[in-house]
Symmetry: C2
């Protein structure tokens, strides 16, 4: 009797991401998953209008990263971009607080005219990403406007980019809401990707600012939670700090323990696997969920370079592949 | 009995211009006329939408020239501008045929958001010009869309910029029309400038592409023609050639003699003075109009540098100042 291979040689992978951290994991996946098997669903809660242009910061970060043209220092924007347009705006007395690089502007212009022309964001960005040589499928979480709004202690509610860029995430966060999410629709492309998924991964993005907007698109949380496949999240919090950005600060401001446990809690009912950093090995996660069915693994989650990104992606693929012999854990998560 | 000074020490000057040639004369005037006494009415028949931006080539050329920031080689665009955005557009597979410099983009963005916000082009551009330190009043000929359309022998009718930039004014011109001109309205600012004018000058711009669109704004030709002041045009054609652009080529294609005489004829009924180049001194212009009331003068009309621009402007001011003792020629032109 011949042994069947335990592991499926090819699996359809869906990754949910926000900005820089998520882009790194997406890039790791893109290095080892065939492009036709990889779909990245990107947060659009950060999107906004600026100087008449539609800006999609997270999407562009992921696209530029996968196209190999992202600025290696910032992790966002186009490498070696210039700011002649911004300088000229200042000559007009403007005080632009969001960086619009000159090369970057081409993306915003093409996106904006596509939208004004009535095209769907999904279609527009598929075309742009393809032009840049991105093989994986990049999907905005929805084509409809969803705006992550931040209620701050000092200045009331503000747009995400005001909070994040203009005020450098210094105001104290009291609450977050996802304006427009109720009326947003899941796109056919996102639905099809979830239906086909053999593995769903939440990038090490900010749970409240990057992943929650995606999960708040109607049907999204339910559809993901009911997928009978590994659904794994990575922590963006390591040793009580965020790898980048305000995740730790917000966790504390919202009254949570600043630890991977809080991240896992934020995804309760949606994930069945969790990757935390080996530096937090002392954090007890095994009994986190009441039904104890959250599988956990720790590793070095820091993705400084291409090799470490591929290493983290490989770990997730290999770890979850072994689950397939053990289906009972996958589809029956308490919700 | 004391002698009254013959010449008014200050006169309100209105200059009608199109692109580069007109901008040079406007700049000459700006050097010697106090800014509060100088109004430039600019052709907007060239304006168009490109990559979602409202582009006003002639207006920007005049504005950049008066602001001292125009590209000294091209005579249009911003000096030392870069093209990173255009390069990035090409990476997306676009083939942009109109040069949008990176610094230049700031102008287009601010204009576009102003228009989308419901502001008038006149207001928007006044603000931008002021920000750049332009003291003279720059006015679009109208706030309404007027599109100079070129009927060509080879390719049918095309937009002005297609003809001018994309096809480098090589198609043969059969006819020109000013789409939308009938429905355009003269702005209060243009009307007030004409009412106050002590001198009206048509820049050495293309009569059919730059000045005619202005004159075709309803009321414009009649109001100018009825102003009892010197109304002087400069020729853009010298020695059978255009100083720049397609004026000579179009004159020939429309079946006219390629000479300053044709330019003067194009303004029949509107001007009462005409400046041609000293190199064309042999061209008889004195009997050009049937009533012989077109005053003419010749000079070196080539405006290579700031000094020669001011010299031509000074010549026009001095020449026309002497007319004021001789009013019968100014108000009774046959129309």
């Amino acid at each position: 009797m011949a042994l069947e291979p335990l592991l499926s040689p090819r699996r359809k992978v869906v990754v949910l991401v926000g900005g820089v951290g998520g882009a790194k994991l997406a890039h790791g996946m893109a290095q080892i998953v065939p492009p036709e098997d990889l779909t990245i669903i990107v947060n659009t809660g950060d999107d906004f209008w600026h100087y008449g242009l539609r800006i999609c910061p997270d999407f562009d970060t992921v696209m530029y990263t996968l196209a190999g043209m992202v600025d290696p220092v910032n992790g966002w924007g186009v490498a070696a971009d210039s700011t002649a347009m911004l300088d000229a705006l200042r000559r007009y007395g403007e005080q632009p607080w969001f960086r619009l690089g000159d090369r970057d502007l081409a993306t915003h212009l093409l996106r904006t005219i596509g939208l004004r022309d009535g095209q769907r964001l999904t279609e527009i960005m598929a075309r742009l990403a393809h032009s840049l040589g991105v093989g994986a499928t990049l999907l905005p979480m929805t084509d409809d406007p969803v705006a992550t709004m931040i209620l701050t202690a000092e200045r009331g509610e503000m747009d995400f980019q005001e909070y994040f860029v203009r005020f450098r995430w210094q105001p104290t966060v009291k609450a977050i809401r996802y304006a427009g999410a109720d009326a947003a629709q899941m796109t056919p492309e996102v639905r099809a990707a979830l239906v086909a998924a053999d593995l769903i991964v939440f990038g090490p993005s900010n749970p409240w600012l990057s992943i929650a907007p995606i999960l708040n698109v109607p049907e999204m949380r339910q559809r993901i939670a009911s997928c009978p496949v590994p659904r794994v999240a990575l922590t963006p919090i390591v040793q009580g700090q965020a790898l980048k950005g305000p995740a730790a600060k917000i966790a504390a401001e919202l009254g949570y323990e600043v630890s991977p446990r809080t991240v896992a809690e934020a995804y309760r009912g949606t994930i069945n696997g969790f990757v935390f950093d080996e530096r937090d090995a002392a954090v007890r996660l095994d009994n986190l969920y009441e039904f104890s069915d959250l599988r956990t693994i720790s590793c070095d989650t820091i993705m400084q370079d291409d090799v470490s990104r591929a290493r983290v992606a490989r770990l997730i693929l290999d770890w979850t592949a072994s689950w397939e012999a053990d289906h009972e854990h996958l589809g029956d998560h308490p919700r």
